[in-house]
């Protein structure tokens, strides 16, 4: 396990809790004695921009940025943001993608002018991604998050799904503990439920194409 390396490129839209997600994984690594580093891209604090976090696990890795073609997995909290960073995915790498689409205003502007225009959909994204990998899992994280008790828990739904992947070297228990310690106190139960819902959803679909663990 000490030599295991795993890089996850995480993307989403400002306001979806991506930085919290990376903190949860980072803290889980720390508690499990696994070396991890992340590189975050933020600065403008506005909501609704495209944001990303490079999450890298491994003893010998020094750069917080994943090289092009170096991500073992791409975790997207919003569908379009999975395709936006496709160059980072290793050929045949894993894509965990929320089916929710937040239409960029630039696309809506075109819609206004062109009555035939249709939005880029999660299905369009999947079709494009399937040209480079067959390990794709599309999860309706918003619905599951609401089922868990809060629309804000999409990030933890996706973490639950990622936690089933055998190659992801962070123990499930450490992740759960970290969720409990890093989300707001009153939201702990909701988020732990979200984690489990993400896990079960991944078992239904992701684990058919990717080697999973218990």
């Amino acid at each position: 396990m000490a030599d295991a390396e795993f890089s996850v490129y995480m993307s989403g839209v400002g306001g979806q809790g991506l930085v919290l997600l990376s903190n949860v994984i980072g803290a889980a690594c720390a508690s499990a004695g696994i070396r991890a580093l992340t590189g975050e891209q933020h600065g403008l604090s506005q909501r609704s921009g495209s944001i990303n976090v490079h999450m890298r696990i491994g003893e010998r890795i020094r750069s917080p940025l994943i090289p092009i073609g170096g991500a073992d997995a791409l975790l997207a909290l919003e569908a379009l943001e999975a395709l936006r960073y496709i160059e980072y995915l290793r050929p045949g790498g894993i894509v965990l993608m929320n089916s929710r689409v937040q239409h960029p205003i630039s696309e809506t502007a075109k819609h206004m002018k062109d009555k035939q225009a249709r939005y880029f959909s999660a299905e369009d994204v999947r079709a494009r991604l399937s040209q480079v990998t067959d390990k794709i899992s599309v999860i309706d994280a918003l619905t599951l998050a609401k089922e868990a008790g809060s629309a804000l828990a999409e990030n933890i739904i996706m973490l639950g799904a990622l936690s089933t992947v055998e190659a992801f070297p962070v123990p499930v228990d450490a992740l759960k503990r970290s969720v409990a310690e890093n989300v707001p106190k009153k939201a702990v139960d909701v988020n732990l439920k979200a984690f489990e819902l993400g896990r079960s959803k991944a078992r239904e679909q992701l684990c058919r194409v990717v080697k999973c663990r218990d």
């Binding site: 580093l37 604090s45 609704s48 940025l65 943001e81 809506t108």
Partner: protein, 611 residues
């Protein structure tokens, strides 16, 4: 995060005075100090600007207390006047200045190289690569600062500041806060004429002693691989170099410089002696390359120095492992393991039709409405707009397309003064409240004094919004939630003798247009204040009070698709249904500011059933 590690290091080093103005990528240094302020006894201010922050630290350090400030590279431009003099006078207590460059200009107006400040001011400069090293270097910086009586720069870049990793924490052993007696002779920190000349000689001698110290410093790391190829690097460049060598399967010798001013010339010369090729990996300007080339002239004239001047690396933009792999491979005649350009070209094909997601005003942002109202008020008026630094810098993007000039913090008023002499159009300047207090006041005083003919729109949202809603001089709190006296913009203006002031509420968007139009038709200088709390800030306060944030919905029956809610507005909570082409509001994103509801000519936007 590295910014948090810097704070931890400073607290372990028993820092007593903290002052800073927010600026990405250093903002979390300020935020973290502010968040933990109630737990420690250091005194902290969120200053009006970086110059005041630096001066605050200077005063405390002259007296003998340890102080720290942090700022982005362009922040040090603002503070540089004090910075250069401070190197002359020196300090007694340890003083650390964290300055972060932003290669790629992710969140800055330029990607300048702040390393120039160290050598040009004779101020020692340390450069960490990761959070653990940053923490260690902050502590070392305080010791160096006190030993040599000089402030120390801790120079970082975005990819160092925003890097998170696991670090070991040390003991926090702090002495209780206590004031000291000022026991310096008169004139000790006065630099002018004769004393400046005396200080200059002392400063040069200090730099020589610092270089001697850095020759043996464990902040510089030599990884001798018994190879005739070597890499000299520092900061983020080291991280990329290590990973690039792994990708290429090579093991060159590596000199990682932690003290980048004064450079340890003997150490560098010794490293060069065994080499046939040395590759310099550094972002931005060829600072190390220049010095290595000069040192090589004596140390090893036959060594081949590979860097920017040889065309292997660029002076533009941020590096990453791919760029460094390509540069090293080209220098050594190797083939990179991955054809990155091919991967990027393929990715570009796959992304065909994927719309860009520009940063934009948040749902509920009052100043989307302010700019909408301004646009209505300026209909039919030819105009030139000088804008400034803040969220509203985005107004140059679609659909507002306002912003003919943007230079730096507070520049809009000076630029507007020049424009009103030069152009036939109506001149409008736009500034936010925080920028107004930061560097706008002299420009305003100048305009009032000269009677410059422009209208200033002040977008007041109570906080420094763009960097994460920190308090500013208009707030009633400061660092650590401590009470502070809020400045009232209109009182400031009246104090300066400006009486033509119009105040509007942007949420009352239709009613704001008329008064704005009138103000714009009058001879300047005059001011329109558009006032409403930042939506993110207001939402946070609402959640704290346990208030629910509800949302609006579009009535399918009432909507006649004029797109008034979208056109010229571009709220990210709004989109258009693919099938019936009517407007749709996202329940999750809507902030219920009601501005689009007020604009809709058919009244089709109402509160969503069940919130």
């Amino acid at each position: 995060m590295c910014n948090e590690a810097i704070v931890r290091g400073a607290i372990e080093a028993d820092v007593k005075i903290v002052s800073a103005y927010p600026g990405s990528p250093t903002t979390e240094v300020l935020d973290t100090f502010s968040a933990v302020a109630p737990e420690f006894d250091y005194r902290m201010e969120i200053s009006a600007n970086e110059k005041v922050a630096l001066e605050t630290c200077a005063g405390a350090a002259m007296a003998g207390l340890r102080s720290i400030t942090s700022m982005k590279s362009v922040g040090l431009n603002v503070a540089s006047d004090a910075f250069y003099s401070l190197s002359y006078t020196g300090v007694r207590g340890g003083m650390v200045l964290v300055v972060a460059d932003d290669p790629q200009a992710h969140s800055s107006q330029t990607e300048q190289d702040g390393r120039i400040f160290g050598p040009s001011a004779y101020v020692p400069m340390l450069e960490p690569s990761d959070p653990a090293e940053a923490k260690r270097m902050v502590k070392a910086a305080f010791d160096i600062s006190e030993k040599y009586g000089v402030p120390v720069l801790l120079r970082t870049t975005t990819r160092v500041n925003h890097q998170s990793g696991i670090i070991d924490i040390g003991k926090v052993e702090r002495k209780p806060f206590a004031k000291v007696r000022w026991d310096h002779p008169p004139g000790r920190f006065v630099t002018v004429a004769d004393s400046a000349r005396t200080f200059k000689l002392a400063m040069l001698e200090r730099a020589m002693r610092l270089e001697d110290e850095f020759e043996g410093s464990d902040l510089n790391i030599v990884e001798d691989a018994d190879s005739d190829t070597g890499i000299i690097t520092s900061g983020a460049g080291y991280n990329y170099s290590v990973d690039a060598c792994r990708e290429l399967g090579i093991e060159p010798s590596m000199l990682k410089l932690g003290t980048t001013y004064p450079l340890p010339r003997k150490l560098i010369g010794g490293f060069l002696k065994k080499l046939k090729t040395v590759i310099i990996v550094e972002e931005l300007s060829p600072y190390l390359e220049l010095h290595v080339t000069a040192i090589a002239k004596d140390a090893n004239p036959s060594v081949r120095v590979v860097g920017k001047w040889t065309g292997h690396f660029s002076e533009a933009f941020e590096y990453n492992t791919n760029i460094v792999v390509d540069g090293i491979a080209k220098a050594l005649g190797m083939k990179p393991p991955v054809d990155y350009k091919a991967v990027m070209d393929r990715a570009q094909e796959l992304k065909e039709g994927l719309a860009d997601r520009w940063p934009t005003f948040c749902p509920g942002c009052p100043h989307r409405a302010s700019l909408h109202a301004l646009k209505q008020a300026l209909k039919g008026v030819k105009h030139v707009v000088a804008t400034d630094i803040g969220c509203y810098s985005m107004s140059f993007l679609e659909p507002i397309n306002y912003g003919d000039t943007l230079l730096c913090m507070g520049a809009c008023m000076g630029v507007a003064a020049g424009l009103q002499y030069a152009v036939e159009e109506k001149v409008v300047a736009i500034v936010g409240d925080s920028t107004f207090y930061h560097a706008g006041l002299p420009g305003l005083v100048n305009a009032i004094h000269h009677g410059d003919d422009f209208t200033l729109l002040i977008l007041d949202n109570e906080v420094t919004a763009m960097t994460g809603q920190q308090p500013n001089p208009g707030s009633d709190v400061n660092a650590g939630g401590r009470a502070a006296k809020p400045m009232i913009i209109e009182n400031v203006l009246r104090g300066f003798g400006l009486e033509d002031i119009t105040i509007v509420d942007p949420y009352d968007v239709k009613k704001a247009v008329g008064p704005m139009k009138e103000a714009l038709s009058r001879k300047g200088p005059n001011v329109i204040i558009s006032r409403r709390a930042c939506a993110l800030h207001a939402d946070r306060l609402k959640r704290k009070r346990g208030e629910k944030i509800s949302s609006n919905d579009v009535s399918k029956e009432a909507c006649k698709k004029p797109y008034t809610c979208i056109r010229e507005f571009y709220c990210p909570a709004l989109s258009i249904d693919d099938d019936d082409r009517k407007s749709v509001i996202s329940k999750e994103l809507c902030d219920k500011c009601d501005v689009c509801a007020k604009l809709c000519p058919f009244g089709s936007i109402k509160e969503r059933e069940g919130g």
